[in-house]
Symmetry: C2
Subunit: 324 residues, 2 copies
């Protein structure tokens, strides 16, 4: 049996989740593919931290080129996060003929064309399912089975931190600051929550969705973006009186004239709408296609194992399409 | 540009929806694939009915062998419904080297191994996304991107007729007979609703889900199946008092000992569970994977265009994998 060899950039939370998900489900994955799958090299400084997984020390390297130039490596998984050096590393991997998988929404949203063009020029597959909706397999579905549709609209709850905070404000009647502190205590919000609560993370994801659904690139900074920091208990109660729930929605819609209207902002969602029932840290993506009508995909938008599941889904796709 | 040629068995509601969806979105589909896609022959007696589409008369045939033995035809789409002659036709198409796409849950559930084995023996692709959940791309997702998971459980609202009836009983307070008559008047229930209201349709779909998720075939007749005909207004109210909604659920769960427990039956679903908010004729499939956690897929479980969208999704998958 052939073995597909993977180089992994970064063994933080998501990298560890990906490594763990592969260990947990290796036999199913390999049976599906008819090939072995092995992470053979890992770019990571911290080689000693207890991650709850057994990683042979010889897999670690401090030199990214050792991964990019290894002729045995078929796929590079980038899980460093942040725009740089992640983008440069992905480009270098592509230029060396490696297929690339990433969960890095900020890098893709900032450098979408450069990454897509470089992937094409080097005839490699570039996959980033985990970058939007975490474990929810939305991007592959939009670009695969749903391609028999013209897309008309997308409404996404794409950020678990803000959805957790808004859920707490709605169900427990607490104010924004109390809900944020609770989210931080439970690990659903970072110490500096700016990127989440100001809608920046959701805007990055909307950039990616619009590019795939409408073939239109809008830089995240050009998306009108309003976060949830100004939402009061009063706003929540007013929405409830209208039989609505306030959700932070990444929204894009194709207008009659063919233009795309887009924004990230808190919206009142009628309680009969399926998005109104998406609570806590869960994510959901609601799309309208001209043949399929309304569809919604719901699941865990973050977390090591769900995100690892999506990363490995991309690996499976690449092996199926190009490496057997 | 190469053109992929399709033979279509049956131009009823779903066949017409598939034909229409292809006409509506041909340019997107062909651009995605880099090939033309054309339905070149149609097995259908009724050549004159007004279906709201333009079908050149010379595409119609009364002789299925004209499709099976045409060396130009790459894919056969079976949309006749019913177990026979649909199963025999699919087998014959496979034996003639055609890839096969179907929406026919009854035929697949009854003859799963025969169809899968014949597809394998003839080295062709057999796809049936539309057979479970209509337009919702659930089967391809379970067998593709989610294969990096061991599946633990599935709970499906897989029948739009019964979900419509239960929704009406819950929201309008009407009894079963009134809700059924309303569903029939609106076209959500057939004149003879037995297969839907007795849970037989849902059992067929659960057979298919279990085969794909757990590699376990259970004939639909061997699934303990209870429909909704005995549900009273009182049952609905008792559930509401428990903060629950009654839904007809197709359920399968892997137990600690590796056995699969399965049934189709009305269940009380807590109103905080995402399935509780799936109303009217919509379908949803809730799955648990050991890496991804909880996922739910929601959409239109029936109807010509949504089902046609799923059928064409399969065509796209086959062309991508085998015909370019």
């Amino acid at each position: 049996m052939k073995t597909v060899k993977i180089g992994l950039l970064g063994l933080g939370n998501i990298g560890t989740g990906t490594y763990k998900a592969l260990e947990m489900n290796r036999s199913e994955i390999e049976e599906t593919l008819g090939t072995g799958v092995e992470i053979v090299k890992i770019l990571e400084r911290d080689t000693t931290r207890d991650r709850g997984i057994e990683v042979p020390l010889e897999k670690f390297t401090q030199d990214p080129d050792e991964i990019f130039t290894d002729p045995e490596i078929d796929i590079v998984i980038e899980l460093l996060g942040g725009i740089e050096p992640a983008t440069s590393f992905m480009l270098k991997a592509m230029e060396n003929g490696k297929h690339v998988v990433t969960a890095n929404k900020a890098a893709i949203a900032a450098n979408y064309h450069k990454l897509m063009d470089t992937a094409k020029a080097n005839d490699i597959m570039f996959r980033f399912e985990a970058s939007v909706g975490g474990g929810i397999p939305i991007l592959g579905t939009l670009t695969g089975p749903l391609r028999a549709n013209k897309f008309e609209e997308v409404l996404g709850i794409l950020n678990g931190t803000t959805n957790y905070i808004l859920t707490m404000m709605t169900s427990e009647g607490v104010d924004y600051d109390t809900a944020l502190k609770d989210a931080q205590a439970k690990g659903f919000a970072e110490a500096d929550p700016t990127a989440d609560v100001e809608g920046i993370d959701a805007a990055n994801k909307l950039t990616i969705l619009m590019a795939l659904m409408f073939d239109k690139y809008v830089a995240p900074g050009d998306i009108p973006t309003t976060g949830i920091t100004a939402i009061t208990k009063d706003d929540i109660e007013k929405a409830r009186a209208n039989n609505c729930r306030i959700k932070l929605i990444a929204h894009a819609k194709k207008l009659e004239n063919g233009e795309i209207e887009y924004a990230v902002k808190p919206m009142e969602i009628d309680e009969s709408h399926p998005l109104a029932g998406i609570n806590m840290e869960f994510n959901a993506v609601f799309v309208k296609g001209n043949a399929v009508g309304d569809l919604m995909f719901y699941g865990k938008g973050a977390g090591p194992l769900p995100t690892g599941s999506a990363v490995l889904g991309d690996v499976i796709d690449i092996v199926k399409s190009s490496l057997r």
